[in-house]
Amino acid sequence: MGTPPGDRLETSEPARLRAFARSPGTLSLLILVAILAGWEAGGRTGVLDTFFFSTPSAISVKAWEMLIDGNLLFHTLRTGYAYVAGVVAAIAFGATVGLAMGWWRRFGDVVDPYVVFFSAMPRIALFPVIILIFGIGDLSRTIIVFLGVVFPVLFNAYIGAKQTPRLLIDVGRVFGYSHNRLFTAVVLPAALPYLIAGFRIGVTLGIIMIVVAEFLAASAGLGQQIAVTAQSYQIAEMWAWVLYTSCYALLIVRGMDYFERWTMRWA
């Protein structure tokens, strides 16, 4: 028979520790600690120029202050508002138009040249125009986010609807589904993986768009704070804003992962 119970107890603790030490999460965390330690050491010994790179400790102090005095919350809300409004509008519009183009072919053929034109256009070229027309408020930023997100969402929805397997459509027809009913019963779920791929590209592109928009024209917001602190050489603050913005981006991407897994649980 196997080992006596006493033995098992003695070996299981170190075994668990070893497993913990070897888990990918632990290793990732260790690498992060090493980078921060190297950065801090580099700053203190003068290997890294603290004028540009500051130090993790100085940045942490600033980051903490922002958190406590409400600055972080204030600018997060300004950016978040425009971001969420732009992304939600773009996904609603892009998914609807894209799916409709794929399923109602005549509509698709008519709209297609416009979609190709606008998606090929470097949309950053439109930023100054948008800001000129709509000013430097939330509306401009929402529109800019919208323009960044809408095309990948729309294209993916369009392709997703077009690639709906012929077989599944025939199944629907045999069981008496009308063209319109097939859309919700077959085309929409069949296009779901494509839609989600579009959302994923869209939300990431949206983050880039809003930060760039805020560099150019904004009275508040995460991107605006990065620009302002950089221009006034508040390097620790600047890094704190950059890191906060990156953390939000990471949260959004992870959220997208969970959303994807949740919607595609049958796959």
């Binding site: 599944l168 199944v171 027809r173 045999v174 069981f175 008496g176 589904y177 009913r181 779920p189 069949a190």
Partner: protein
């Protein structure tokens, strides 16, 4: 023969291709009585699926007429439900939901749809798998879902397009026996196409032989084996003789 259920008169069908029109069906005539199981055998590519799609209403003939119970076939309806060679299950729906998918346009109350779906899932031997998604099922089980979906709507004519071509040989024989029991019990009128002579004989009351493309009816034979049939009839002399005869016919047309 009593009044025919399905009537097919001089049906032709061709498809446009890069090299001009490809004739696929060349004047098909056939009819089928209510409650009868008719098998059509033909070589691969002879036009069997095309013919079944015409009966299903998924395609229109170039000329000729198709009638079910005296009414011209005009578009698909669950009255002529189809078991697809490639199953055609919705991967995002569970077994139960896939069967309910077929009942959704029936106009029946929801709880009646559910009762019917559960009943037919039981009859095809899938009880306990109601909440499984197709991915988690073997090919044979997936086709059981396809059969359940087609039976649940209680069609006037059940169409089967090589329903067991994509399952392994062992499973195929079991499923043929199961299907035969169900359709015999419920007196379902079945039109089945296949390239498998044994399947055609085992399931059919009558076998129609298609020529190779473009398809014409080259022979019709009554299957001389009484129903109900068990697996063992496959080795009977009568079965083997008809099988050899059909095989010769198909060879001659190839």
């Amino acid at each position: 023969m009593e009044e025919p259920s399905l009537e097919v008169i001089g049906v032709t069908k061709s498809f446009p291709t890069a090299q001009g029109r490809l004739p696929v069906l060349d004047g098909i005539d056939m009819s089928q009585a209510r409650g009868e199981v008719v098998s059509i055998v033909g070589a691969s590519g002879s036009g069997k699926t095309t013919f079944l799609r015409l009966v299903a209403g998924l395609e229109e003939p170039d000329s000729g007429a198709l009638k079910l119970d005296g009414r011209e076939i005009d578009g698909p309806t669950p009255e002529r439900s189809l078991i697809f060679q490639q199953f055609g299950l919705m991967p995002w729906l569970s077994v139960l939901e896939n069967v309910l998918f077929g009942l959704a346009t029936s106009g029946l109350p929801k709880d009646e749809q559910r009762d019917r779906a559960n009943d037919v899932i039981g009859r095809v031997g899938l009880q306990g798998f109601e909440d499984f998604h197709p991915k988690a099922l073997s090919g044979g089980m997936q086709q059981r879902v396809g059969i359940a979906r087609a039976l649940a709507v209680e069609p006037r004519l059940l169409l089967c397009d090589e329903p067991f071509a994509s399952v392994d040989a062992m499973t195929r024989q079991t499923m043929q026996t199961d299907l035969l029991h169900i359709v015999t019990q419920q007196k379902v009128t079945v039109l089945l196409v296949t390239h498998d002579i044994e399947e055609a004989l085992f399931l059919g009351d009558r076998v129609i032989v298609f020529s190779s493309r473009p398809a014409r009816v080259i022979e019709e034979v009554e299957v001389a084996i009484p129903k109900p049939r068990e697996h063992s009839v496959r080795v009977s002399t009568g079965f083997q003789e008809q099988r050899a005869m059909l095989w010769e016919l198909l060879q001659a047309t190839a």
